[in-house]
């Protein structure tokens, strides 16, 4: 009788190339995702050491971080970003790596296009030089972000040495209350366990509130695992997963499909599998959240108020709150719904899939963006944009006064021209409210797509549950 295993155990064991006592396991990488910002030094290192890419067929590249979201057909204006983008395309051409480049309809945010193409599948070990690689865990894959030196390592060897992390089960049971989205689930989890709560663990998200989510929602949850300090996040594959994948370009049909589903069905954690730690949340306790601070655990219900630093017992948290309020220019006790905003960013690998765009469009109801607010929608991929346009969502956004952009990371990290000015306050569907993340002196409030659209229209935060 074998011990019941967690999903992490199973996926890990499937990828061990070499195991030796006292050493990290050498793991085989099924898919290496590459983008233009964290790869040039890796390709350079490879060339300097006279090595080649071991498995170009298990690598996929796109341009997303530095690419403009408007006017790109006229070329890339930023000379440095232009060099990076051209370098990626050149390196990939030399090494035989498939690139979804600037003019490819499949171009987009790397964590959106992997699943969209069916390149992300259950049971895989996926790596990428980007912290939000955890997104792919929504399919029951083990997916981790790595640095540039490790990008070079994977290019050269198609493997990665790793010591196995611990396991953390986070169970969210119950039905999500009306107006509470996948974004609120993960913000609620991070508020509960803290930005370091997942330290040295892989999180498995479980429970009926999680299994009830669409694949888009599950990706939103897993995406922000890194914001809880975790190595990765995973959700067990099920019928929802298979239905999403069936018929996608890199997923075969017929007998191979049946064979793959049979394998995928073996991946979820066994009954009785033991996790190193467990956390349980009740879905009924979740609400639409708005971040007030400078890390993603600093969130409060939309009906709440900006807390006083004195309300935190932990000294470091108190200091962090004080610093946050100064940076965010907020007074303790301010009602969240009294906070006025200047900008809305609707996009990022957290919330720029078709379901997000539909949800946001659904709350517009013929209304228009507040005259004091500048709002933009940045679809996560060229194909998401196309699908939205076929459904007429672009017209709904444009008629309401939103800018409708081309796909990319955009103002999530503001490496391109999409950037907050000092002092500007932004409702953002992205993942990080760090100081200066969206532009030096810019102030970011993390929210769901529906909350972002409603804030754009009212010019301040509103409770999506009551707002009609």
């Amino acid at each position: 009788m074998t011990q019941p295993q967690t999903m992490l155990d199973k996926v890990w064991d499937d990828h061990v190339v070499r195991h030796a006592s006292g050493e990290p396991d050498l793991l085989y990488v099924d898919m290496h995702l590459i983008h233009e910002v964290t790869s040039p030094q890796a390709f350079e290192g490879l060339a300097l050491s006279g090595r080649r890419v071991r498995r170009p067929d298990l690598s996929m590249a796109t341009v997303d971080h530095g690419i403009p979201t408007v006017g790109r057909e006229l070329g890339i204006n930023d000379p440095l970003s232009k060099i990076q983008i051209e370098a990626l395309e050149q390196h990939c051409k030399e090494q035989g790596i498939t690139v979804f480049g600037v003019n490819d309809i499949r171009q987009g945010i790397v964590h959106i296009i992997g699943p969209e193409q069916g390149i992300t599948q259950p049971g895989m070990f996926i790596v990428c030089g980007d912290s939000h690689t955890s997104t792919h865990g929504a399919f029951g894959a083990l997916a981790i972000g790595i640095g540039t030196s490790e990008v070079e390592h994977v290019l050269a060897t198609q493997t990665l040495p790793r010591t196995k992390p611990g396991s953390l089960a986070i169970t969210v049971d119950g039905d999500l209350p009306l107006g509470v989205t996948a974004k609120d689930v993960i913000l609620g989890i991070i508020r509960e366990i803290g930005v370091n709560g997942g330290y040295e663990t892989v999180i498995e998200y479980r429970g009926s509130a999680v299994t009830g989510l669409s694949m888009e929602g599950r990706m939103t949850v897993c995406n922000m695992s890194i914001e809880a300090g975790a190595v990765a996040g995973m959700i067990a594959p099920d019928e929802t997963t298979y239905a999403y994948l069936e018929g996608r370009p890199y997923v075969p049909g017929g007998a191979p499909w049946e064979e793959m589903v049979a394998y995928w069905e073996t991946i979820p954690s066994d009954a009785g599998a033991v996790f190193d730690r467990e956390v349980v949340l009740d879905a009924a306790d979740l609400a639409p959240f708005v971040s007030w601070g400078i890390n993603p655990s600093q969130v409060v219900e939309v009906t709440g108020r900006v807390p006083s630093p004195d309300s935190f017992e932990n000294l470091l948290e108190r200091d962090s709150a004080a610093r946050a309020l100064e940076y965010m220019d907020l007074e303790p006790g301010t009602a969240i719904t009294d906070i006025r905003i200047d900008r809305v960013f609707f996009g990022s690998c957290t919330n720029a899939r078709i379901e997000d765009l539909r949800a946001g469009a659904g709350v517009i109801q013929g209304r228009t963006v507040h005259p004091d607010v500048g709002a933009m929608v940045v679809p996560g991929s060229g194909l998401v944009k196309l699908e939205a346009e076929e459904e007429g969502l672009d017209l709904i956004y444009k008629e309401a006064g939103f800018e409708w952009r081309d796909a990319g990371c955009s103002m999530c990290l503001a490496m391109n021209e999409d950037i907050l000015l000092p002092g500007e306050r932004c409702a953002s569907t992205s993942n990080r409210n760090f100081e200066g993340r969206q532009g030096r002196g810019g102030r970011t409030h993390l929210v769901s797509p529906e909350m972002a659209v409603a804030a754009a229209i009212e010019g301040r935060f509103v409770d999506i549950r009551e707002w009609q």
Partner: protein, 200 residues
């Protein structure tokens, strides 16, 4: 990679929690294609005002910390983005080790790849070193072989993966080590499930 064994130097305190990699090196410095030139831009938004003038009050700009080579940080140092530019900028600015009670997972790995030593201390010990670092006259010695950190008459021990430790002490390149297992990689590939996706 340069070998790491005993690091001696001055500490600089930056004890706030959750210093993310966006603070260590902001996005505008990620547009390069080399690993160099990042040192002067370390903690850019804290070190320089909006006019690009140095902020005299920022701890690393104070003359008494000019020679610091060990950063004493709060928990979860280097959380956030995977940008290895954070480590390159710390290294180029003269830092050889960082003391903290925990690190962002990707930054910790990036440190090991570059011979920058992330020393994971117990929370109480990290607090003591933060206090010691507040006096620029205090120096520190980090002894990787014996896994000890000492400042004055205070010594703390730390844990590190023995394999990582051996690699750091010898300055071994990770790719070279892995390629010694090439036969294992070949064997795994030959037996690998055929139904995994491929491109090209």
């Amino acid at each position: 990679m340069r070998p790491v064994s005993i690091i001696e130097g001055q500490m600089a305190p930056l004890p706030q929690a959750n210093i993310d990699t966006d603070q260590i090196i902001p996005k505008q410095f990620l547009k390069g294609v080399t690993r160099t030139g990042l040192g002067p831009n370390l903690f850019y938004n804290w070190a320089y005002d909006v006019e690009g003038e140095r902020e005299p009050d920022f701890v690393l700009n104070r003359p008494e910390y000019a020679e610091a080579s060990v950063l004493v940080a709060g928990p979860n140092f280097g959380c956030g983005s995977s940008r290895e530019h954070a480590v390159w900028s710390l290294f180029e600015a003269g830092f050889e080790a960082i003391l903290a009670s925990s690190f962002g997972p990707i930054l910790e790995n990036n440190c090991y790849q570059n011979g920058l030593l992330p020393v994971v201390l117990r929370t109480e010990d990290a607090g003591i070193f933060a206090e010691l670092a507040a006096d620029p006259a205090n120096s520190v010695t980090i002894d990787l072989p014996t896994q000890q950190v000492t400042s004055g008459d205070f010594t703390a021990t730390f844990d590190i993966d023995p394999h990582v430790k051996e690699r750091l002490i010898n300055g071994w390149d990770q790719i070279d080590i892995t390629l010694q297992s090439e036969a294992d990689i070949d064997a795994y590939e030959a037996a690998r499930p055929r139904l995994r996706p491929t491109l090209g």
